[in-house]
Symmetry: C2
Subunit: 563 residues, 2 copies
């Protein structure tokens, strides 16, 4: 057992209770003391080499206008330095912030930055901004010490300093951030977040640079959804752990389905708009049916199409006497179906202006297509659409329990086919939603190592004066020792979107590519998975022994296809 | 990777697809080849020693009448045999059946029986009855060979031969079982099941004995619910794994709750009537609130009392600025609340005879207390009570989503307190139900070892001619080598219940004892857990390294209290 310790004074007034390694589980404790390997480039003397001038993912002229000080800057690579030229040794003051939803490994990014400073810039200070970007604006921070960080090493969650969803956007908010940076005399800031947060990090870097502040800003790619990635940033951290946790659960449910022989389990998975998590889980476990939102959108499928696909498989399986199965559904499915989008837009419009009369006259304001879809929907979903609205009066799409909806629609369709003599099986649906279970798990060895390298690398980038880069660790197919470390110009990942008549910079969400290696592999196997039972139950994440060094399929397939 | 193999011919026509170790995950594969330790008494020569004459758990006179051939028989203990007196070497024909819901480790019980026969009664045959007791009645079986069993070793699920919920009860059914036993020339039958299945096993043993059939029957204690246990049978298999899987998930959710700081997670846990799983998870993870059904019943609490308890804690936490938390709710909660029981009984009566009028006149037939409760319930639950009925027209209590109901009731009460100025926090509830995820996981080292010993011991008991016993492995606090092995007279666990004017034998469900060590430990700590945050996140089950030999708290506390 690790020794008990009491967090330092700054924590006591915090809205979270501090961690005490003395009450950890055996597994947590073993992870706290687990030493992490570093890429060899970080273990020895290194120097930073700039690449060629960069452009943007789209609309470079607009991006150049939005980031006059940063646009075009090269990406940076850390390379071994033969000479014993000492790095510029100066003491640094660095801030770090967690932005957006939790992802396993966040604490390790912070540990990586901290250890870099301890080992390479002794005497430096690391401040953790509390509760996300709001902590920067309000100047809410804590000084991170060795003792403070210790119990969070290799642990899940973001509770070391907590996160938040605020953005630094208005001139007043930028002003607040400047004040904090100046008050703390910050040399640098690391923003750990997803696509929006990294876009925001780049705006902050541009702003600091334009004001001639010394504070540099480096981003780190975080999101379990897996939708922040590009050639230089092969994956976002947390995706590996979250997928393995979901795959463990679904793997268990699959074995249950086969053992019981009488349930269809409809499993909805977190992942927001993108279907990366669903695709990765499918590659890990081989379920009978997997719906990929991006494919539904590309093929312009209707809800009826999706239902028919599911029901067709169920009917074929019934002929083989398999009245059970497992079906994966991405959280964002509903967003990909054009007709549903239209219906929701029309409902938002109608409900904003009219009262809903019992007689259903309001329905006449819907287009024919939307009326048809509305009446196709199960009653419970109709009610959800009418009643559950967010504070702006809009339908809360994320709250729609797609898995339950599809069960009801399959039920109705199967009943119809039964009466037509086309289906003789028995159908019982069970619904599941996996989300929160995966965001704060103990990071896998992969995520633990990856995050530590991201953080350590971010420290190195700041130390050498870089700004507006996203920490980039590559060659992930190889052992950790051979991983590459560097930074990619955030502006090079950006495009613009037109909002309220203005161009807004955005890092485009990486959606599942239908021509990408992971989807193609899935597509080549799904018919076999549908009718035969090729179930794989990955089992719980292991930290030692067989399976403990496994890397997720998406990453391996994408790297393999690139190589 | 283990070599690929094709299951033998008997499997191809089966309603399940066989397992192929060649498509296993790395972790599954490592488990397939994982060698299990045996208690030392099973590794060497042993002899069986009978204990004193046994009685019954209650109403011994009635049990004696129901089991004239078996009542009073002693329990048996395997002890090391110094002499090299060879065991009666005869070749055996043994059947095995899985009965009821899945529990991790079932495949290992079968492996244990098989290995006993291979090692101690070479040339013996093991038949697996397919799909539960119905397989015995219909003579549906498969011969279990070394190749057939191999890919299921240390794997979760019951899909090797599948399970079923039928009981052998009527004279015709007993006749069918006799015919199968005679046709296969069975020396013995191992029934792997819960309390009902073991009662049934004893009736079968009595019936075979009364007909002078040679077929002996041995039971094995299976249920994740943990409600089949007694002094001689310290735990049922599967409980350890299931609780650890749920605790991993809830542990992750707790860290998420603390990181996000804005959700109360209401987690309902499987476990049928008893709250063992909920209690064990609480001991593992230290949630803020845990409802134990047995305590609710003993204290005759109302739904309002339970809601108030939850809301009181939420209000106190809000004062400390904690607007988040985790609340555990046992699946069987609703069954423990007397007023809910009354309401449901009255509704069943009314709905069986009357139509429900829109005007609500039907409500006048409810007692005052029930009207009050009905109107206290959230609308969605009212609807569920009125609409969701089983084929007999009864309310489906198990389908009531207690976690959602409690969220709504807490919401209403908190709103009220807010208006009274007694609560200033923000409340957002998130609901979870964990059940299927835990029934078919890869068994923990504990369950893998325990099940293997149970099966191996069952083989030994049958080999020495024992019948009507439940395989009993004890001293579980100690290393596997020191575990004790034997059999306990099933009649000694029985009492009678009066049903339809007749006495029916039952093994009483072991409920959570409010004077037992696990509950007392929980009760002594829960106030601290409620207000402080003492969260423990156990992490995923490990098969090697730290934590891999952990045993559940319930078992350790009960054994400790006994010692």
């Amino acid at each position: 057992m690790a020794p008990a310790f009491v967090p330092n004074g700054t924590l006591t007034s915090a809205p979270v209770a501090g961690r005490f390694a003395s009450v950890y589980s055996e597994v947590q404790n073993s992870r706290v003391d687990h030493a992490l390997p570093l890429p060899s480039v970080l273990k020895n003397a290194f120097t930073i080499v700039d690449g060629p001038r960069s452009s943007a993912a789209g609309n470079p002229d607009e991006i150049a206008k939005l980031f006059p000080h940063l646009f075009g800057q090269p990406s940076a690579a850390l390379v071994p330095s033969d000479s014993h030229v000492a790095q510029p040794h100066h003491v640094l003051k660095i801030g770090v912030v967690l932005s957006g939803g939790q992802a396993p490994g966040g604490h390790n990014v912070i540990s990586g930055i901290f250890d870099y400073l301890q080992e390479r810039a002794k005497g430096s200070t690391l401040y953790g901004f509390r509760g996300g970007p709001a902590g920067i604006m309000k100047g809410k921070y804590v000084e991170l010490t060795s003792e403070y960080i210790y119990p969070y090493r290799n642990q899940g969650g973001f509770d070391m300093i907590c996160s938040g969803r605020d953005k630094i956007e208005t001139p007043e908010q930028f002003k607040q951030a400047e004040e904090t940076a100046q008050k703390l005399d910050l040399d640098g800031l690391v923003v750990i977040g997803g696509d929006d947060s990294n876009t925001n990090a780049c705006l902050l870097a541009e702003n600091f640079r334009s004001k001639n502040l010394k504070t540099r800003v480096i981003g780190c790619p975080k999101t379990i959804d897996g939708d922040l990635k590009c050639k230089e940033v092969p994956t976002s951290f947390g995706f590996d752990t979250a997928c393995k946790i979901y795959a463990e659960m679904i793997g268990n449910v699959m074995i249950d389905a086969r053992s019981t022989g009488k349930y269809y389990h409809f499993v909805r998975l977190m992942g927001r708009a993108a279907s990366h998590i669903t695709l990765e889980c499918a590659l890990q476990i081989h379920p009978n049916i997997t719906i990929i939102g991006e494919e539904v959108a590309a093929k312009k499928l209707t809800l009826k199409n999706v239902t028919d696909y599911i029901v067709d498989v169920i009917c074929k399986r019934a002929e083989a006497n398999f009245n059970y199965g497992v079906i994966l559904i991405p959280e964002g499915l509903i967003d990909f179906i054009p007709e549903v989008q239209h219906l929701i837009a029309e409902l938002n419009e109608i409900l904003a202006h009219d009262t809903v009369d019992e007689g259903g006259l309001w329905k006449k304001k819907l287009t024919d297509q939307s009326v048809k879809l509305f009446e196709f929907l199960p009653e419970a979903i109709q009610e959800q659409l009418m009643l559950e609205r967010d504070p702006h009066g809009n339908v809360q799409v994320a709250k729609i329990e797609t898995e339950k909806m599809l069960i009801q629609m399959a039920e109705t369709e199967l009943e119809k086919r039964k009466q037509e003599g086309k289906y003789k099986g028995e159908f019982k649906g069970q619904s599941h939603f996996f989300g929160y279970e995966g965001r704060c798990g103990l990071p896998t060895n992969f995520d633990a190592n990856y995050c530590y390298a991201l953080g350590y690398g971010a420290g190195a980038l700041l130390h050498s004066g870089k700004t507006g880069l996203i920490s980039s660790v590559g060659n992930l197919y190889a052992p950790v020792e051979e991983w590459t470390v560097g930074g990619t110009a955030l502006t090079s990942l950006m495009d613009v979107e037109r909002r309220h008549g203005k161009f807004k910079p955005v890092i485009k969400k990486a959606m599942v590519e239908l021509e990408g290696a992971p989807f193609k592999k899935f597509a080549s196997l799904r018919d076999e998975w549908a009718l035969k039972n090729c179930y794989i139950s990955p089992g719980p994440i292991q930290f030692a022994g067989p399976g403990s060094d496994a890397v997720n399929h998406t990453l391996l397939l994408e790297l393999g296809a690139q190589a």
